[in-house]
Amino acid sequence: MAGPSCRQSRYIDDFMKAYSLFSLARNAMSYHRNWQRAWRSPDPKSKYDVVIIGGGGHGLATAYYLATQCGINNVAVIEKGWLGGGNTGRNTTIVRSNYLLDASAGMYEHAMKLWEGLSQELNYNVMFSQRGLLHLAHSVHDMQEIGRRGNAIHLNGIDSEFLTPEQVKEMLPIINLNCRYPVMGGLLQKRGGTARHDAVAWGYARGADAAGVDIIQNCEVRGVRVESNTVVGVETSRGFIGAGKVGSVAAGHSSVIAEMAGFKMPLECYPLQALVSEPIKPIIDCVVMSNGIHVYVSQSDKGELVVGSGSDAYNSYSQRGSFDLIEHTVGPLCELFPLFSRLRMLRQWAGIVDVTVDRSPILSKTPVKNLYFNCGWGTGGFKATPGSGHAFAHSIAAGEMNEIAAPFSIDRFNSGALIDEGAAAAVAH
């Protein structure tokens, strides 16, 4: 398996097309008239070697790595709406790799390493900002949890530090340590942080396009054509598109795609909500996550507080959730940071997250030959985008899930070998 690559992509060979301060300046001289499309808008061909369903970050990354690392350039990404309009375009952008279980640590740390060179690799600034990610512990039980996770992470070779309440206060002077369930400690991953969600989709799209991938937007997959238990293509709103292999990376719609192919998935879709405040000058400099009182907050480069809310516990494809979750997000936020109470919420929204019982993703072969699924990232897959795409691309190319993807096979729901990060640690995102 090819390792993460940090060199500037060789596929953007035309230096003038590459983005840089220089190209920006040059284009400014011509009033920005000469910028090219970030990606083409081709008509679908009749057949591709690989068709990827879903133009979110994971789908685009898969296509990008197929084309740039696996030597498969005859690839299409089929997106029913606009690129990145799914969860990629609506998540709270938290990136970390401090997971407890080996399988998860393997996946997320793989992704982290790719994140660390991604802007350069893609020649697109994805604003990956390693500002640090701090998990707060509010009870003896939380302390046991971060104790276990901190050690596990450390021994997996991933950075993590325990903080005392005093150290937490030093990092975050505005925190109220004596909130209901006082802060008893913290677990810090300095390499954790955020990235600009849209840029990730666009950067991968541009990179994939440059490597020959056809990105086809506004094209909905409406059927999966299977002949003698082997996938041969997809029926779309723009006609049939043949495919040697199909990778479904449709996040919130994976069950729908599976139904088209004639099987069920261990998934349920829920609305997951988030909100942003009005922009303000910098006030918190790291990502703060508290499972004890349910707060997830960071501040974007533009200045808004980006606040994760919860997921409603009913199945839904509506991209809207119920308001009481917003109340139960803002209440805790004001509890932990009482001075935010005079700030204002600017916008709230929801995404459709596909959740497995063990809250870990599925990267897997399926009952249909040559049809692969990458889904179930639920509330926390943005951070995995490069790693997931990379592992999935190599797995599709090989026809077998690779070492990083293998534990996430769908078989685990029959064997019982769940990767139950949630049960083990009760940690979200």
């Binding site: 009033y31 499309r37 802007s119 600034n125 109470s341 019982g416 769940l418």
Partner: protein, 1005 residues
């Protein structure tokens, strides 16, 4: 320069109440009834803020909540509030405001260099640069972050309080303009329970900004007076409907005391958050004017035409003595007339060539110059408009031609037409339709969501005369009331007319051409003022393929500012439509999301934070623990004594003392928080058989048994002791944190899977106050207080007896979580306090020691008893816990049974619970420490297990630990290594899990 722009008469301000206020350190005077913006304008201040990206000088363009520019930092210290719209701040005495996003001052802002290099900062420039060297991004980012943001957050805790409340009505009317008032009147007349909200300080909406607003006011007052009489009507002004959710759930923010100034609200909350459930909703939210997009259309002094009208008529302020009205429709002509009447020199520039004779003659009568078929080609003046140049538009509207005329002016009133406020309708899930005749989207009432019955009325529905608005309002009010089941007799609702000129025949001109192609001259054509998004940015986005309206939004950030594009969105997508050569509806709109205007976080969550955040559940003995000096631990929502230090003791000392005392004399623990479920009915035992792994058929009445519960995945999720109280009667206990979960688990199975079984479960957790007494002297102590025969034979281990303890009725369970001779005394909660006092008194002679949860944990660990949730984590089976003894081999079925047989669950070498004894007995391993397969110099090191519980055990005379270790049961006797975060390595021997009294003699003593 005192109120130089204040008109000598007119307006709805109270000239008898002058108010002094400060802006950017200078003192000014305004009047009661002013907003900060109107008062500043009255004082000749046009420059109020700087834009986000280019730091361009900006003034107010609007008079309402759609304002994108005039954002200020209101007040100071703990009361400070960033990004507050000057157009919505009601003036109060002593108000202090500062401009934002500028340094060192508003007049001279260093950040304005961005404007000079603007050419290098097109939409999305940051995606293209700042990438090299990679290590520098964090440094670049720091600067970017500092430069971004608008105002500053307070750094002190909010001194204000907030109130939230639910409300219900038949008909909710959103918006108190003519349409809303008449809808409310009609609905109330039909007998409906009505709520009428308006975000303004006064009802009347657009009527307040008309030149005959005095007459309008008396019309409004009489309508509101009548509404106010009705018991069934709730009137809420200063209240914005912020969100419209499923099933007609509408949230609204009422600004209760903001207009009084900080600290002046008395006992009243600062703001109130309404959660309204309405059977029917009438949306009468009015419409918002759009600016025309032309070169440098952002200079202070440029305003929406209707805002100019509002400042003149409502506030008695003339925003400029020389006014150019620039329009593509009729409605701004009224503003020209009003400005002229107020004494301004007015010029009208109309992009159209077919202005009606009627309008022309009106202008002529007032000596107002008119340029037909013309457009503004450029603007002079930096921190305020000084003059504009106009040129003739080509017939196709694509270019400018001829000679440029310069018109001196300090105010430009522009109107690009009216955008109906469809926010609420869209948020409710309704779909919009594009109406060519008004060049705007309006609600498609046939595509409202079934669960959100509503009707739009007035200008938000695309009608632009007051009389039509009133007529629609009445109709909407009656139909909504009827749909809500109220159809009384409706009194006739008065209609009313004002001086206004409807939009009429609008000739859309989405982007006024300039001499240079868009984006190539120096001039900028702003549509999103706050986020500094220009027409050129839209062109760039289109060029780069960001053509979907959602990409356009995200790439250029148009519509993402604090005004959410109220004045800009339609312009932006129309420009994109033109570039693409498609129709506006084909481009489509972005999603309307709550809140309508930014919503104070404290109002949403403030009430249920701090002391009302999450209930602190306390047992009936709580006060006693407090008096005993207990330090508390949060267990779930409960407060439990953690340890009870004596003078000078730290936690360790207290726990060691308590732990020893229990095994030496007797200890006492408040166990009231354990979940308790009363189970009755002839099929009760069937239920137990299904939910526990062991056998329950043969449990004798009066006997107790321990049980483990598994989920259907086969993993342990709760445990506890259940006692048979009678023939078909059981008392189940659960973990403290698991009580609700277990109750639901039982009920779910009973109600959905086995509804024919006769079993009744009742939570009795709080019914009983429970004291556990443990230790060799527990029996003696109990004997002193009870009428129960406590002798060993009469009251054996794992049985229950009823009687009295300390003269109150009690159930005493002889069960033990400590391995000591133990009794759990349950009395009705009302006697809990009595019980602990009586025991404390009687215990003196036995050296009774109260102990807390930490000691309990040590004691049970000494005996190897697990804590579900600490030693288990949702991924362990009974076998993993070395608890095969509790899994029935004979039962046909129980929940979680089948899962035990799966490949992975049967797998060898799963992590299993074992004991660990460190080589150095003084080392207490940290909980969570990992056992490594092999010690390496540095990570990564493969791990094979982790410590779940670890304590210094005074009874074992050394440290002890429990751990989950792969294949642990077979490894007993081996030595393993644990690698710490700081690099130290501890060695420990793998043992069984019982460290004290291995034979279990004491518990049966």
């Amino acid at each position: 320069m005192s109120q130089s722009q204040r008109l000598s008469q007119g307006g709805m301000i109270d000239r008898s109440k002058p108010i002094s206020f400060a802006f950017d350190g200078r003192q000014y005077t305004g009047y009661q009834g002013d907003t900060l913006a109107s008062a500043l304008l009255a004082n000749g201040v046009r420059l109020m803020g700087r834009s986000f990206k280019y730091h361009r000088p900006r003034g107010a363009i609007a008079a309402g909540s759609e304002e994108p520019n005039a954002l200020v930092q209101l007040e100071t210290g703990a009361y400070t509030e960033p990004n507050t719209r000057a157009t919505c701040i009601e003036l109060y005495d002593g108000l202090v405001a500062k401009s934002q996003n500028r340094w060192p001052s508003l007049e001279f802002d260093i950040g304005a260099v961005n404007s000079l290099v603007a050419r290098f900062l097109p939409a999305g420039f940051y995606y293209k640069t700042f990438m090299w060297p990679a290590s520098m991004w964090m440094t670049y980012e720091k600067f970017i972050r500092k430069a971004a943001g608008l105002g500053v957050s307070p750094v002190e805790d909010d001194p204000d309080v907030y109130h939230g409340t639910y409300a219900h009505c038949d008909v909710l009317v959103i918006g108190g303009g003519p349409a809303g008032i008449s809808a409310a009147t009609a609905a109330a007349g039909s007998g409906a329970r009505v709520m009428l909200l308006d975000e303004g300080s006064e009802y009347g909406g657009a009527l307040l900004g008309t030149s005959d607003n005095a007459a309008a006011k008396s019309y409004i007052d009489s309508a509101l007076g009548a509404l106010g009489q009705s018991e069934n009507v709730r009137l809420l002004s200063r209240t914005t409907a912020t969100g419209y959710y499923d099933y007609n759930y509408i949230t609204a923010l009422e600004k209760v005391t903001d207009h009084l100034g900080p600290g002046n609200g008395g006992d009243a909350p600062r703001q109130r958050f309404w959660k309204i459930r309405a059977k029917q909703v009438v949306i009468a939210a009015g419409s918002i004017e759009r600016p025309l997009i032309f070169a440098d259309n952002d200079r202070p002094g440029m305003m929406l035409a209707n805002a100019v009208g509002v400042y003149i008529n409502r506030y008695g302020v003339l925003p400029g003595n020389d006014v150019v009205v620039f329009t593509n429709n009729d409605s701004a002509y009224q503003v020209a007339l009003d400005a002229s009447a107020a004494g301004a020199t007015v010029t009208v520039v109309d992009t159209r060539r077919n202005v009606s004779a009627d309008l022309k003659s009106k202008l002529e009568q007032n000596n107002i110059r008119l340029f037909e078929g013309h457009a503004i080609s450029s603007v002079q003046g930096g921190k305020g408009v000084e003059s504009v140049r106009i040129m003739e538009l080509s017939a196709d509207g694509e270019s400018l031609q001829g000679q440029a005329w310069e018109i001196v002016c300090t105010c430009v009133a522009t109107s690009g037409g009216w955008t109906p406020s469809c926010h609420m309708f869209s948020q409710s899930g309704g779909k919009l339709k594009y109406e060519e005749s008004i060049a705007g989207f309006i609600p498609d009432s046939s595509r409202a969501k079934n669960s959100c019955p509503n009707v739009s009325a007035g200008s938000c529905n695309g009608v632009f005369t007051t009389q039509e608005c009133i007529a629609q309002g009445v109709e909407a009010g009656i139909s909504a009331a009827g749909a809500a089941g109220r159809s009384g007799s409706v009194p006739s609702v008065d209609t009313f007319a004002v001086n206004e000129i409807p939009q009429g025949a609008i000739a859309p001109l989405w982007l006024v051409p300039t001499v240079h192609p868009v984006g190539e001259g120096k001039a900028k054509h702003f549509h999103d003022f706050q986020n500094d998004v220009t027409a050129a940015d839209i062109h760039l986005a289109a060029r780069e393929g960001f053509v979907s309206v959602e990409h356009l939004k995200r790439y250029t950030t148009t519509g993402m500012a604090t005004d959410q594009g109220k004045t800009s969105n339609l312009n932006a997508l129309a420009i994109m439509a033109n570039i693409q050569g498609v129709s506006i509806p084909e481009v489509g709109t972005t999603t309307f999301r709550p809140p309508y205007t930014p919503l104070t976080l404290g109002a949403v969550g403030g009430q249920e934070s701090r002391e009302l955040f999450i209930q602190e559940r306390k047992t009936p003995m709580h006060e006693h623990h407090v008096a005993s000096g207990a330090v508390f631990e949060d267990v779930g929502d409960w407060k439990r004594p953690w340890y009870l230090p004596k003078e000078g003791e730290d936690m360790h000392a207290a726990v060691q003392r308590e732990t020893l005392a229990v095994r030496e004399s007797v200890g006492m623990l408040d166990a009231s928080t354990l979940g308790k479920i009363d189970i009755q009915g002839k099929d009760a035992v069937k239920l137990l058989e299904m939910v526990y792994t062991n056998n329950w058929q043969k449990l004798a009445i009066g006997s107790c048994r321990y049980g483990l519960m598994l989920n259907e995945h086969g993993m342990i999720f709760d445990d506890g002791v259940t006692t048979r109280l009678g023939e078909n009667h059981y008392h189940m206990t659960t973990t403290t944190g698991g009580a609700a979960r277990v109750m639901n688990w039982l009920e779910e199975w009973l109600q959905t899977e086995w509804p024919e079984w006769e079993v009744y479960c009742t939570s009795v957790t709080e019914q009983w106050a429970v004291l556990a007494i443990n230790g060799p002297k527990a029996r003696d102590l109990l004997r002193d207080l009870t009428d129960i025969d406590v002798s060993k034979d009469a009251f054996p281990f794992m049985t229950m007896r009823e009687g009295t303890v300390a003269d109150v009725p009690a159930r005493v369970y002889r069960i033990s979580f400590t391995g000591e001779l133990s009794y759990e005394i349950n009395v009705p909660a009302r006697y809990g306090k009595h019980l602990i006092e009586a025991l404390t008194e009687a215990g003196k002679k036995y050296d009774l020691v109260p102990y807390g949860t930490e000691t309990m944990h040590v004691l049970r660990a000494e005996k190897g008893f697990i804590i579900v949730g600490q030693d288990t984590d949702g991924t362990v089976t009974p076998h993993d816990m070395d608890m095969d003894w509790i899994v029935s081999k004979t039962k046909e079925e129980y929940l979680g049974n089948r899962a035990q047989a799966r490949v992975d669950t049967r797998r060898e070498k799963r992590p299993q619970l074992i004991g660990l004894l460190t080589e150095d007995p003084t080392v207490v391993l940290p909980e969570g420490a990992h056992i490594v397969a092999e010690v390496l110099d540095k990570p990564p090191m493969p791990t094979i297990g982790h410590v779940t519980s670890s304590y210094m055990s005074p009874n074992a005379g050394r440290s002890i630990a429990l751990a989950l270790l792969q294949d642990g049961i077979n490894r007993k006797g081996e030595t393993v290594s644990l690698s710490m975060m700081d690099g130290t390595v501890h060695k420990a021997k793998v043992t069984d899990t019982v460290f004290v009294d291995k034979e279990g003699v004491r518990v049966r003593g």
